[in-house]
Amino acid sequence: MPSKYERFKIETKPAPHVYQIPNKFDVSARKVRLAAMLVHEAFEYKLNKEVVLSRPCIYGVFGGRFGGFKPLKHKCVGCMRCVQEYPHIMTVKHSDSYKRLGDSFWTPEAVFTILNEASTGKIPVKGMGYKGAFGGEGFDGIWTDMSEIVRPTRDGVYGREYISTSVDVGRKPTSVDFSKIDRASSTIEIPVPIIFDKLSAGNGDVRAAVGMAAEKLGTFYVSRERTPFDFGQESLIPIGNEEGIEDLVERPPAIVEYDAEKSDLFEKLASRLPSSIVIARLPLREDSGMIACKLAHEGVHGLHLYADYHGQDYSKEPQHISASLKEVHQQLVKGGLRDQVTLIASGGITLAEHVPKAIICGADLVGIDTTVLVALQAEFRGETRDRANCQLKPRKIDPEWGAQRLVNLFGVWHDQLIEILSAMGIRDVRRLRGDIGRSMMDAELRELSFKGIAWAT
């Protein structure tokens, strides 16, 4: 009997921060003026305590024992009403510790977004419009399309119709081979188009959290070494090498990656691990399209293309992963090879919106890296760009807590992916792959729309 149908859903639950995060806002009162104001109001309201002590903050920042003299800064949401009411007394600004968060790529806002998504499992929602920069570079310069009327019947994340976020990993046959029709499929379906990429920094707790989360989510994680834990073993994508082949043969993984420059490794892995999906791992460069075609011809099942942690590729003149991915995807399409290999993209995919955008640029799925560490409250000690020298230092964590944070993150990203697909009227994320026509590029639109407008001199 077929098993009962269950709609895919990621169960999120609160996993509050265990290390204190900086207050976003720094509230302070000029104490002498505050005291003078209280005296003044005491006269004005004839010592009516309730009125005199009624405070401008509806978030309880002045609700502590010492009121405005010792504001409860962590409660401040930056609404600015205290400044509006008492401009001569109150100052509210972004705190220095908030402004120091992140590095040249990770903005404080992005760090806060990930921390909040991981702790609450809820989509960030705000009122009164967008507050950031106009378009921009890389993923910021891409808008996704929407459909006014023609689309599945859905209400955002509260939807009635199912939108699939599943993707297949592995090589797909180009035609039906009737002699092998009774064999199991050589692809693996994962419910969200996201895996955990190898972390360049991570202690045992972090690795355990990642393994646990991958298992719960039905996704995979890439790692050079096997973890010593019982859980997560089925979700591991090891990076195979010559010396380790025998170990892998003993316990064949569902998916295995290898460094593409070791050119004879594919044959060896594919022959010794016939049931595994073998994926070549290679840095994105100017010649990645050509190499991708060559590898696809040789029969690899997939390609894991990575940029640095800031999303820049390794070309002589580095470009954003969105541009290099498009080139690889298009070369594979031209060569008639695109449907034969799975493309995994990683590096600089750090926010929920980057997932659909990377897929639009040609990836089937993405790998996340520094975001995992940020969600687990790792500390920024410098630039995070270099894969070999990432300055995000993990802290000691409880793996169960860490796993829940990562499950929350996936839950929120899944919901946001659904929002994007839903707005486009697309029911299946597989249909988004390489669909540049359902996106809008800042650079192109600017030239089209502002055509004929002279440059200021």
């Binding site: 949401v77 400044v83 977004t113 006014e148 859905r154 955002g156 929002e419 502002f450």
Partner: protein, 426 residues
């Protein structure tokens, strides 16, 4: 007077006083105020204009924000001194360019966008309706229904018909000089609306004919519309119920926004209203506002040029919204090809909004704008709000006149599509 009254009065006075003194910068520019789109200066300049009805005189930046793109990288060609006397300049636009139907002219190329009862306070809604009456323009109900209190202003109120159909009744369509179909909105393009349970008070529930403190969803899209023909049925329905009403079609800005516009024209719409993603007042997922659909700056020329090439541009009114913050934004939108603009956030800023984005937290807006909290709502007395909105638009019309005067244009309609008057900054 009871304590509650005294407390409301105290804070109301303080907030109003703060809005008066903050723009004079005696206490400096508040560091935590504003963001790239609505900078602290722009917010304070808006407070100042709402107070005086004039442009700021102390150097506060009132023309552009700091978003690094769109309107913020467009400026005006150097045009020397005024070539037309300001008071000779006509800022009015027609809202019906078709041969049939009622002719409606508004004296400024601006009207107020949809903000629903429930998502905003009744007092703020009343302030907007009163201001629309005084300025002889319009404001839109949004999709939250038509409170009885705004019926006296009905000649200046646009009834919005959205997917939830809240408050859409025969009489509210019959009241309306303009009926606005909201197919989509910029802040949540392609997504449904969601009013959190906390905001569904007894009044809101009554208005929307629903249950108290239960979340309300408006689905997306109209489940009765899957083609231009279906859309035409919608337009016919409204014209049957109220033959005098003009029909506006509010849409978001997808890649094929030009096709949507021409479809609306063929369905019989009088106004095509394109709403870009960077504006909006309702709470929306951050991912939607930043990433879905194109900014209105890019959509306006696309639609304008396409309607021109189809030879119908002079039969339909193109209104732009979603990120229009200043008089300069309005003039730039018109120079890019719009006839006029819809604004909403700027009206909220005029009455004290800080663009903090906390509208959906706890009791709602701390200064009484996006809230149904009975105490907080009282910070905006309708008369006070009306004056501030009227003042803001008065100051804006001065700026619009000065831009037109510099180019020797006597009529705002002559600015439409004049991209040659703009310059781009890197």
């Amino acid at each position: 007077m009871g304590n509650l009254e005294l407390i409301v009065e105290k804070h109301s006075e303080r907030i109003h006083h703060g809005l008066e003194v903050l723009p004079n910068l005696r206490h400096g520019l508040p560091e935590g105020l504003g963001n790239k789109r609505w900078t602290a200066e722009l917010i304070l300049a808006t407070y100042e204009m709402a107070l005086t009805g004039d442009l700021p005189k102390n150097g506060l930046e009132y023309k552009t924000g700091n978003s690094g793109g769109g309107f913020d990288v467009l400026g005006w060609k150097n045009n020397g001194s005024a070539k037309v006397e300001s008071d000779k300049i006509d800022l009015s636009i027609e809202l019906n360019k078709r041969d049939d139907g009622k002719k409606i002219t508004i004296p400024l190329p601006i009207y107020g966008g949809g903000m629903s009862f429930g998502s905003i306070s009744l007092n703020f809604m009343l302030a907007r309706a009163r201001a629309a009456k005084r300025l002889n323009t319009f404001m839109s109900t949004g999709e939250g229904g038509y409170p009885d209190d705004i019926v006296p202003y009905r000649d200046h109120v646009i009834t919005q018909v959205a997917t939830g159909m809240f408050g859409v009744r025969e009489e509210t369509i019959q009241y309306a000089p303009i009926v606005e179909f909201k197919y989509a909105q910029g802040a949540k393009p392609g997504l449904g609306g969601h009013l959190l349970a906390d905001k569904v008070t007894s009044e809101v529930a009554k208005m929307r004919e629903s249950s108290m403190f239960t979340s309300l969803y408006s689905p997306f899209p109209f489940h009765s519309v899957y083609s231009v023909e279906d859309h035409k049925k919608h337009v016919d329905w409204i014209k049957t119920v109220n033959p005098r009403a003009l029909v506006s079609v509010k849409v978001s800005t997808p890649t094929d926004v030009d096709m949507v516009a021409i479809g609306s024209y063929h369905a019989g719409a009088n106004i095509i209203h394109i709403d870009g993603g960077y504006g909006g007042t309702g709470a929306a997922p951050e991912i939607a506002k930043k990433n879905i659909a194109m900014p209105v700056e890019y959509a306006i020329p696309k639609v304008h040029d396409y309607l021109m090439s189809e030879g119908v541009r002079d039969e339909i009114v193109l209104i732009a919204s979603g990120g229009i913050r200043t008089a300069d934004d309005i003039a730039k939108a018109i120079a890019l090809g719009a006839d006029g603009c819809v604004v909403a956030t700027a009206e909220a800023i005029a009455v004290g909004c800080t663009h903090c984005g906390n509208c959906e937290r706890g009791r709602g807006c701390q200064v009484g704008i996006t809230t149904t909290d009975p105490e907080l709502s009282r910070f905006i007395e309708p008369e006070w709000g009306e004056t501030r909105i009227v003042n803001l638009f008065t100051a804006w019309s001065k700026r619009l006149r000065s831009i037109l005067a510099g180019f020797g244009l006597e009529n705002v309609r002559d600015l439409r599509g004049r991209r040659d008057l703009l310059v781009r900054y890197k």
